[in-house]
C-alpha cells in the first residue's frame, strides 16, 4: 500500500478514532500512517454488529409474544450466545436454556438473578424488562 492510497473514508465504527496503518512512503520505506478508516472494514464490522442486533430483536419479539424470557433478549443484547453465557455464569447450558422459558424465569431466585445481572452487566431491576 502506498502512503497516498491509505484509505481515509471515515469508518463510523471507529467512533472518531484513527488507526495506525503501515504504508510505503515516496522513498520506498514503510511508515506508520493514521487512517480514518476503510470502507471494507466498516462493512464487515457493521455486518457483525447488525447480526447480533437482529438476534436481539428476534428474541425481543419472542419475549413480547410470551415465548421466551427476557434473559434471552439480554443475552444477545450483551453480544453473548448460550455457550458464553453459560461459561460466564458458571451454570450448565441446559439450566440457562431452561431459564429462557418465561414461566421458569419468573420464579427465579434472587441469587440466580444476581448472577445473570453480574454476568450481563444489566442492573437487577432491568433484568425482567425488555425496552
Amino acid at each position: 500500500m502506498r502512503e497516498r492510497d491509505v484509505p481515509q473514508e471515515g469508518n463510523a465504527t471507529l467512533a472518531g478514532n484513527r488507526k495506525a496503518v503501515y504504508a510505503v512512503a515516496e522513498d520506498g520505506r514503510l511508515r506508520i500512517v493514521a487512517s480514518r478508516g476503510w470502507e471494507a472494514e466498516e462493512i464487515v464490522t457493521r455486518q457483525a454488529v447488525e447480526d447480533l442486533e437482529r438476534r436481539a430483536q428476534a428474541a425481543r419479539a419472542r419475549v413480547l409474544a410470551g415465548q421466551a424470557s427476557p434473559l434471552e433478549y439480554h443475552m444477545y443484547k450483551a453480544r453473548m450466545d448460550l455457550p458464553l453465557l453459560s461459561q460466564t455464569t458458571g451454570l450448565w447450558r441446559w439450566r440457562v436454556r431452561r431459564h429462557f422459558r418465561p414461566g421458569v424465569f419468573a420464579r427465579l431466585p434472587l441469587s440466580l438473578r444476581r448472577r445473570y445481572s453480574e454476568a450481563l452487566g444489566v442492573p437487577l431491576e432491568q433484568l425482567d424488562k425488555v425496552e
Partner: protein, 322 residues
C-alpha cells in the same frame, strides 16, 4: 509490547518487536468459535509473541495469573506503585473507552497500564491513539472475563534490562523461526497450509443453511475472515505490512540488502490480502454477487505467494553469514 522493552531502556519499534518475536503467522482454528464462527489468526498468540521476544532479549519476563479478582487487582496496584509498566490480557467488551461497534467478547486483547490515579488506571491501548483512562471496576471485569481464551487476570512485566543485542544474529534466528512455522508446521491448520484449508472451507460454503437462504451464513463467515484480518491488530493486511517494516528495519540495522527486496515483495502480498478483503466486503454488501469459489481462488493464490515468499526468506536467512 515494544513499549515494555523501551521501558527497560532499549529503544525498539513496534515492527522490530513483532519481527524479533517471529510473530507473523497464519492459523485457522475451527474448534475455537466466537458466536459460531471460527477463529482465524494472522499472528502468533500474544503470549507466544511476548515469550518469543523475551527469549531473544533476555527481558526476565514474568507472567502471573490469578484465581481471585481481588488478588489480581491488588497485585496490579502493587506493581504500578513500584513503578512497573504492566501488560494485561483482557476482554474488549468491558472496556468503556472502546468504540461501541468494536466491542465483542474477544478475550485475547492486550494493553499496557502505566499508572493509576485514584480509582482510574492510565492505559495505553493500541486501539486509541492517545493514552486513555479506565475505571477500576471495568478493568477488573475485563481482566476476569470468562469464556474462550479467558485471560484469568494475566499480567506480565519485565524484570531485567536487556543488553544491546546483536541484531544480525537475533534477526536471522527470528526469520528462521517464522519461516519454519509458516512452511513446516506439522498441522494443516497452521501456516501456508492453513490458508489452503481455509480456501477449501470457503469454497464449500453453502448458499443456504438451515432455515436461512440467500447466503447469510456464507456472508457472515466471509465477513469474519476479513474482520480477523483488518480489525484486529496493527497495520492492516493481516500484519503483513508490519512484518515487511521489520524486514526493512533489520536490513537498515545490519546492512543485509536482500531483506529490503523481500520486504517489497511482502508489501505486495499485503496488498493482495487487502484486495481479498475488499472483494469480500463488496460481496457482503451485495454490490457483487456472492461467489465463494472466487474468494477461495484468491486465498489459494495468496497461499502460493506466501509459500514462495517464505521459502525465499528462509533461503536468504541461510545465506546470511553472521
Amino acid at each position: 509490547m515494544a513499549a515494555l522493552v523501551r521501558h527497560q531502556g532499549l529503544p525498539m519499534s513496534e515492527a522490530m518487536a513483532f519481527g524479533l518475536a517471529a510473530a507473523i503467522s497464519f492459523a485457522y482454528l475451527p474448534f475455537i468459535r466466537i458466536n459460531g464462527l471460527p477463529l482465524i489468526a494472522y499472528r502468533m498468540p500474544p503470549r507466544a509473541i511476548i515469550k518469543g521476544l523475551h527469549r531473544g532479549l533476555e527481558l526476565g519476563m514474568r507472567f502471573e495469573k490469578f484465581r481471585s479478582p481481588e488478588r489480581g487487582m491488588a497485585r496490579l496496584d502493587a506493581l504500578l506503585d513500584a513503578g512497573e509498566l504492566v501488560g494485561l490480557q483482557t476482554s474488549v467488551f468491558w472496556l468503556p473507552y472502546f468504540p461501541p461497534d468494536l466491542r465483542f467478547h474477544f478475550n485475547a486483547h492486550n494493553l499496557l497500564v502505566y499508572g493509576r490515579e485514584g480509582d482510574e488506571y492510565l492505559v495505553s491501548d493500541p486501539v486509541a491513539e492517545i493514552p486513555v483512562r479506565c475505571p477500576r471496576k471495568d478493568l477488573e471485569k475485563a481482566r476476569f472475563a470468562k469464556g474462550l481464551l479467558a485471560p484469568k487476570g494475566l499480567l506480565y512485566y519485565a524484570t531485567r534490562t536487556p543488553r544491546i543485542p546483536d541484531w544480525a544474529r537475533l534477526g536471522k534466528r527470528a526469520i528462521a523461526r517464522a519461516a519454519r512455522v509458516m512452511l513446516h508446521t506439522p498441522l494443516p491448520l497452521i501456516g501456508v497450509r492453513g490458508i489452503e484449508l481455509l480456501a477449501r472451507q470457503v469454497e464449500r460454503l453453502p448458499l443456504a443453511r438451515g432455515g436461512e437462504s440467500g447466503g447469510d451464513w456464507a456472508r457472515l463467515y466471509v465477513g469474519n475472515i476479513v474482520r480477523m484480518q483488518e480489525e484486529i491488530g496493527t497495520g492492516g493486511g493481516g500484519f503483513r505490512f508490519l512484518y515487511a517494516s521489520f524486514l526493512q528495519e533489520l536490513a537498515a540495522a545490519t546492512g543485509y540488502g536482500a531483506l529490503d527486496r523481500l520486504a517489497s515483495r511482502l508489501v505486495e502480498i499485503g496488498d493482495r490480502w487487502r484486495e481479498f478483503a475488499l472483494a469480500a466486503a463488496r460481496m457482503i454488501r451485495g454490490r457483487e454477487p456472492l461467489a465463494p469459489p472466487a474468494l477461495a481462488a484468491r486465498l489459494r493464490a495468496l497461499a502460493a505467494e506466501e509459500r514462495q515468499f517464505f521459502r525465499d526468506l528462509d533461503a536468504a536467512q541461510r545465506a546470511w553469514a553472521c
